[in-house]
């Protein structure tokens, strides 16, 4: 009887602790103003510990990702998939991968080159260039310009269901050219 009570108590405590188990979130480990490079291995996801102003560089692995605030540079190449999540005024370069995906804020400069799928959701004032890409899909949340070169399928979505306009230099634009 005493043994049973002890075991019951042990597992009751354990079940209660299940509720406390979990992963704690964070904001990454790269320091503002520095370049943090990651290569080799399988997965690397980097973040900017101070929020803004980091340069995150990832290459030659399977999965790469960067999360940063404003004024960041994110670059990745020679990976299977690369993801970028950034605030305003970011410069993102993704090339020689299977897929590149990004969320970025206003005034984003996004270059996607030699990739099967590029998918970008960008804030107002952004410029997106897709070069040698099978599918380039861009969702503009404000005014933007998209340049598709050697692209099989170039989809641009503008705010409020508006259609993008074709500019004289071949760009597609949301808003004016």
């Amino acid at each position: 009887m005493k043994n049973t009570s002890f075991l019951t108590l042990t597992f009751a405590v354990g079940i209660a602790l299940l509720g406390a188990a979990g992963c704690h979130s964070g904001q990454g480990s790269c320091v503002q103003g520095s370049t943090c490079e990651c290569s080799g291995g399988t997965d690397c996801y980097q973040g900017c510990a101070d929020g803004n102003g980091c340069d995150l560089y990832c290459h030659n692995m399977v999965h790469c990702g960067g999360v940063c605030g404003d004024g960041c540079g994110l670059q990745c190449h020679d990976v299977n998939d690369c993801s970028s999540s950034c605030g305003d005024n970011c410069q993102i370069d993704c090339h020689n991968t299977v897929s590149c995906g990004a969320f970025c804020g206003a005034n984003c400069q996004y270059d996607c080159q030699s990739v099967d799928r590029c998918g970008v959701r960008a804030g107002p004032g952004s410029t997106i260039a897709c070069t040698s890409v099978t599918t380039c899909s861009v969702e503009c949340l404000g005014t933007c310009r998209v340049l598709c070169t050697d692209v099989n399928k170039c989809d641009v979505t503008c705010p409020n269901g508006a259609s993008p306009i074709s500019c004289a230099n071949g760009d597609l634009a949301c808003g004016s050219c």
Partner: protein, 218 residues
């Protein structure tokens, strides 16, 4: 070996206790040197082991946990081992077999990793063109709270009145926050040093955790 209340109980000493705590598997080797005052029982296959359940609260250590976590961790837990085969598997060896199960809780920290750490993605969202975009990453390798539920076969070898060892193959069901439940193979080896009647210091090495505790033979 029996844990019956008798006059042959071993009185605890500070030296013995510290010695036991520092040992894991090594205690098996020391058993033979202690033979003169602690006669060997390993060949007495029919010596009754004298308990039905072993209850063992313990401290837990671990590194490189299974699943999405990373780093190294510490925690607490408890193990219960119910004797199923008191006579063991081997005809001329003083062994026994128990079913062990328990509960361990460990807090792991990524930057305690013995081989460095990398941050991990904590949250993904679907982007245009079916891309998968990470929107939140861990910091300093992240921190992870694990709950382990081990289920093992405990094969015991009773060397002397004081010393015993065991091997524990089995499984560890574990729970990690948003990642939910998963299962990992588990393998432990360990030993016990008797410090009082029906009480031993117990060390367990293996994967996914190490444990150091006190066993109560009931």
């Amino acid at each position: 070996m029996t844990f019956a209340k008798s006059s042959d109980s071993v009185s605890p000493t500070g030296t013995a206790a510290a010695f036991c705590a520092a040992l894991g598997l090594g205690m098996v080797l020391f058993a033979s040197s202690a033979q003169a005052r602690d006669p060997l029982l390993i060949h007495d296959a029919r010596t009754p082991i004298g308990y039905e359940v072993e209850l063992e609260p313990h401290l837990v250590l671990g590194t490189n946990p299974p699943g999405a976590g990373a780093g190294s961790g510490v925690g607490i837990g408890a193990r219960a081992s119910v004797v199923l085969v008191p006579e063991g598997f081997l005809p001329r060896v003083n062994d026994s077999v128990a079913l062990g199960f328990g509960l361990d809780v460990g807090h792991y920290t990524g930057d305690w990793a013995i081989d460095g750490y990398r941050d991990q993605c904590l949250h993904y969202e679907t982007g245009p063109a079916g891309t998968r975009i990470c929107t939140e990453v861990s910091s300093n390798g992240g921190t992870y709270n694990y709950v382990f539920i081990p289920l093992v076969m405990q094969w015991n070898f009773w060397f002397t009145q004081r010393w015993s060892a065991f091997a524990e193959p089995g499984l560890d069901l574990y729970f990690l926050g948003n990642h939910g439940f998963d299962v990992s193979p588990a393998m432990y080896v360990g030993g016990r040093c008797r410090i009082a009647d029906r009480i031993t210091l117990t060390a367990r090495l293996g994967y996914p955790t190490f444990a150091f505790g006190v066993s109560f033979m009931l």
